[in-house]
Subunit: 111 residues, 2 copies
DNA sequence: TACACTAACTTACTTAAAGTAAGTAATAAT
DNA sequence: ATTATTACTTACTTTAAGTAAGTTAGTGTA
């Protein structure tokens, strides 16, 4: 196997984990709480927790704890995370230009 | 659950399938044969076949059959597929700017 | 005619990741 | 003591990914 760019491979490994793109999309709007993301995305608490932990480890997001009642925890993008904005923007642009109404309908009539 | 852009969601669904990004990266270099991609990427024939079929269905790639001996089959990006170039480029740019040597080493010493 | 060669897949099976639902921890108000 | 609230965990089921062996179609060679 030929070696392709290992940095690109690593980045794709991140992106190809489910929900990562949508979580980043959410956080580009500003910092969010766990429960906000849980209600805005069709992701379960279990996976959201797992992904946030991973993104924190990768230093793409930061977890901020506010000792109020009840406890408030906010997730916010780091510089490394904010640097992903152009990627998300390009995916948006592409999806708006190339994903047809038909394709979306097919999705919705699946179950 | 709030409805976020369904086109963006659909696009992320595509990207968050393993190997899709790397297959597109390969095909941006030009048309490729099944065996070429199989040897250049650490993906098995089973999944490569599955992903190519999916990308063809999404009209991102085209499958061209040349009746030679032995049969030659080439995969090539459609306009819709080539329109993904900026996405791939932005991921490359990000990965070059933000993925550290350290992170890559950690990966390699995992097993 | 039979056997071998090649590229491009398939099929059958194992392992890992994702989805679901119920449960826990910490804190404070009643 | 009981309830409320947020942010998770744990245990379990289902789906997707990984591995390896097998199949198909068209030649070409003995």
């Amino acid at each position: 196997m030929k070696e392709l760019c290992p940095r690109f491979e690593k980045a794709m490994q991140l992106f190809s984990k489910r929900w990562v793109g949508l979580i980043l999309f959410e956080l580009l709007e500003g910092s969010k709480r766990f429960s906000e993301m849980e209600s805005e995305l069709p992701v379960s608490g279990r996976l959201l927790s797992e992904r946030l932990k991973m993104l924190e480890k990768e230093e793409i997001i930061e977890r901020r704890v506010y000792s109020e009642f009840p406890v408030r925890i906010e997730y916010i993008l780091t510089d490394k995370g904010r640097a992903l904005e152009p990627v998300i923007k390009e995916i948006q642009t592409w999806s708006e230009g190339w994903i047809t109404e038909q394709e979306l309908e097919d999705e919705n009539t699946k179950p």
